[in-house]
Subunit: 489 residues, 2 copies
């Protein structure tokens, strides 16, 4: 109080001028202004405002269930049993769902999924993850002590980036990320105050990764920071490419030679559609390259319950495997994750079911396989459809969607549209996507949110809407693009 | 590769010397070395190693279900329905559980709890939280736009601290925390590189908070940083005190006068046991103080599904309410939380049930009230029991456990024990707790993990074990303390 008892007239403690400057630099396009406007438009539609469309189609985010994909029955049955164990007496649930639930509950404190788990994650889940990786990678061993369960893959990625961020000014940690990239990376780098080091994917060669470009990017970055991490997303987000085994080997050699920590974001490992393409994990390739590499290169790889055929984004389940991590650093990692107590137990349980799915002979096997196959075939069909229809549009050119859940086509924008965007202070592809949203209800994310070569424009579109809706969407998009081009030509 | 093709012999990229220096400074006693040793001992017992006890009793962490507390039936029924909606056709579930589940699912993308939610949290849940706060606070309005759902309270607390951390050197943000404190605070402050500013609670007056001590602490801190935040935990962790309305009013006046952002950690709001004690939320007191304060003081308050009578720690559910936050900062907050996509949807749904529990006349009401009352009465009884038995031990003095879930007694340690600890490089109370664990299997957390006045020693013990086990634990502890005192006298 001042002398006369009145409160002093001070401004707010927390303002944009006094807040964490790194947070201000954070950008996350996938949930940016376009999406906020889409939510507004949905409200307006509900309130009866007339629009040239009846619903907003959100093709901005890899959210399968929101697009109508049904959950896998086996997963949800076991989760219901874990949640309300009284159902274990119910004969409507197959025996294998019950035995899975019992096993998970036995690993929980007080047999309750409501207890904290160990910070690294439930023991039996980490064992199951290790077994899964070993099977997936043709027998190359995986150690449960190297597995950390996470709150979705994002959580794991941020945690490893956090460990790696150090130095000041020219000694600050540089993080090499692909352009286009998934904006979790740029956002986390900004938040941590690390240095973003861009390497460009080769759009002409189906978004492939050229080692010469890695070399160029590294060289340039060494002028102003210390690049210490190389991040790879495979299958690619937002670009949908699937890396060849050779490319992965070359990347590992590059990381070894240049002393870079490798981060492999492999959350789309089951989402491979194109003929001749196959998923190779960085872990497997690393170990196939022999001890010269497998005993040396530091690698963290990430997986999640949110993508593939599961699409269980809401559960925030995930894991990471760390390879060749210095044991003292690992102890620091374990300490760091303990501050947040534990990842959500339901997400951990779900991750367990993903890596330990029904086996031939078990009662749930047939249904499980049927459901999984149906989802993955539909995605493959929609990947093809998207590429085909988009490439019929003059001014749009779309690489094959080899994997993941997105197309990232290049769009030709007329000079006048670019100028109109600049006049509004918008990126040209933001201007395009905003207009698309207002006129058709289709919600996409502009390429500028992911990064792209100067002077090129793109958008990211998920392939997740149901096939009939996807066709409507693609045709509306085609029509819009033609109209837009005409209008600004 | 070097000229001859061999890889250069470089050390690891990531070592304790090159890692994030702030992460190294992080400490989290609740899951520290004592707990790691307890886990080891449990393994040894399983392997048949002979010990002077048969089981480890973990009284180190507020993990109710792990200590045998049963989940609330209503919560788990609705969660099972949300997880596996086919059960909505099952007539074993009461109608009110079904209507809650339907309402939650209707707010989820694709009616699935597996879809991402909005980053701030499911709309209808935020509305229910706002209604709950309004009821709790005697009608003082709460705006759903000020509610952010979180991954447990910890997540919310770290997020707000992150926003507040800025400056360098002497302009670095200072965060005022009570000593003893819950180590999430010190850990997050270290990780963010903010400055920890200690104010001491008054053990002689039942761990109360003296404004003169806040003033002293603030004055001293202003010499080397800019204190901008004042954190309060009420009911107290680890100290179990419940703040009086007058004290809260004084704290708010202090924050207003000194221009401090208030963070009120109120996760134990239903855990009040002592006669004459009552929970007052900071929000309510702030608004009762009139517009001079209620229009000015910036406040964030936190709640969780993990404590109170729920004990659903594994779900990682929680919310925060922000009051008087600058609208531009709020936009930054919304952007920041969007990078992690969303809090776990099951935790959000559970939070909804906590704030929107069965009402009189609904089929689940009777059972719900019976279960809740039983848990809270048992906790009240155990709070009393703990205080009483501990105070019969010469050399242990324990304040009343007015609320929360912990006792934090002061222990007198003989000079020789202190020297023996020093010789081992251990804090004296760590030495004591480690010995207690090895000899009795009881796992407590040493007071040094929470902070305490120089030259005093404490431990934190939860009151959560079942009454019969708690009695055994307390008597074993008594016996140990007497033996220990004798041995080192």
């Amino acid at each position: 109080m001042s002398e006369n008892g009145a409160l002093p007239r001070l401004g707010k403690v927390l303002t944009v001028d006094t807040m964490n400057p790194n947070v201000k630099k954070v950008d996350y396009a996938v949930r940016g202004p376009i999406v906020q406007r889409a939510v507004q438009i949905e409200k307006e539609l509900k309130e009866g405002v007339k629009k040239p469309f009846e619903e907003v189609i959100k093709a901005n985010i890899g959210d399968a269930h929101a697009m109508g994909q049904q959950p896998i029955t086996f997963f949800r049955q076991v989760m219901a049993l874990c949640t309300y164990p009284q159902l274990l007496d119910d004969n409507k649930f197959p025996e294998d769902t019950k035995s899975r639930a019992r096993r998970i509950l036995q690993s929980c404190g007080g047999n309750s999924i409501g207890a904290y788990t160990t910070s690294q994650g439930i023991d039996c889940v980490r064992h199951d993850v290790a077994n899964y990786i070993q099977r997936r990678d043709g027998g190359i061993p995986s150690d449960p002590d190297n597995i950390y369960l996470t709150t979705g893959a994002s959580d794991g990625i941020v945690t490893i980036l956090k460990l790696l961020t150090a130095g000041e000014g020219r000694t600050r940690t540089g993080v090499m990320i692909s352009i286009p990239q998934y904006p979790l990376y740029s956002a986390s780098i900004a938040e941590l105050g690390a240095v973003q080091v861009n390497y460009y994917l080769n759009e002409e060669k189906c978004w492939s990764l050229d080692i010469s470009e890695l070399q160029r990017s590294l060289q340039a970055a060494r002028e102003h920071c210390i690049p210490r991490v190389l991040c790879i997303i495979n299958p690619g987000n937002p670009t949908g490419q699937v890396q060849s085994r050779q490319c992965i080997e070359d990347v590992i050699k590059f990381a070894a030679k240049e002393n870079l920590f490798l981060m492999a974001d492999e959350v789309y490992q089951d989402n491979v559609y194109a003929e001749g393409c196959e998923f190779h994990s960085f872990k497997k390739v690393l170990f196939e390259m022999g001890p010269e590499y497998s005993s040396k290169v530091e690698l963290a790889s990430f997986h999640s319950t949110s993508k593939c055929y599961m699409g269980e984004c809401g559960f925030r389940g995930g894991y990471m495997e760390v390879i060749n991590m210095d044991p003292e650093v690992k102890a620091q990692l374990t300490k760091l994750v303990s501050v947040r107590l534990c990842p959500p137990a339901p997400g951990q349980a779900l991750m367990d079911l993903v890596v330990n799915s029904p086996q031939p002979g078990e009662p749930s096997y047939q249904t499980f396989i049927k459901e999984r196959t149906a989802i993955l075939s539909a995605l493959a069909e929609k990947a093809k459809l998207t590429e085909e229809i988009l490439n019929t549009v003059p001014g749009i050119s779309c690489n094959p969607v080899q994997g993941a859940m997105y197309s990232f086509p290049c769009i030709a924008l007329p000079e006048r549209a670019i100028n109109a965007a600049k006049a509004k202070g918008q990126a040209p592809d933001m201007f395009y996507c905003m207009k698309l949203l207002e006129e058709t209800g289709i919600c996409l994310v502009p390429g500028s949110g992911f990064g792209q070569r100067e002077g090129t424009y793109h958008f990211r579109m998920t392939i997740l809407p149901p096939t009939d809706k996807l066709k409507i969407l693609l045709n509306k998009l085609k029509e819009f693009h033609q109209k837009f081009t005409q209008q600004y030509s």
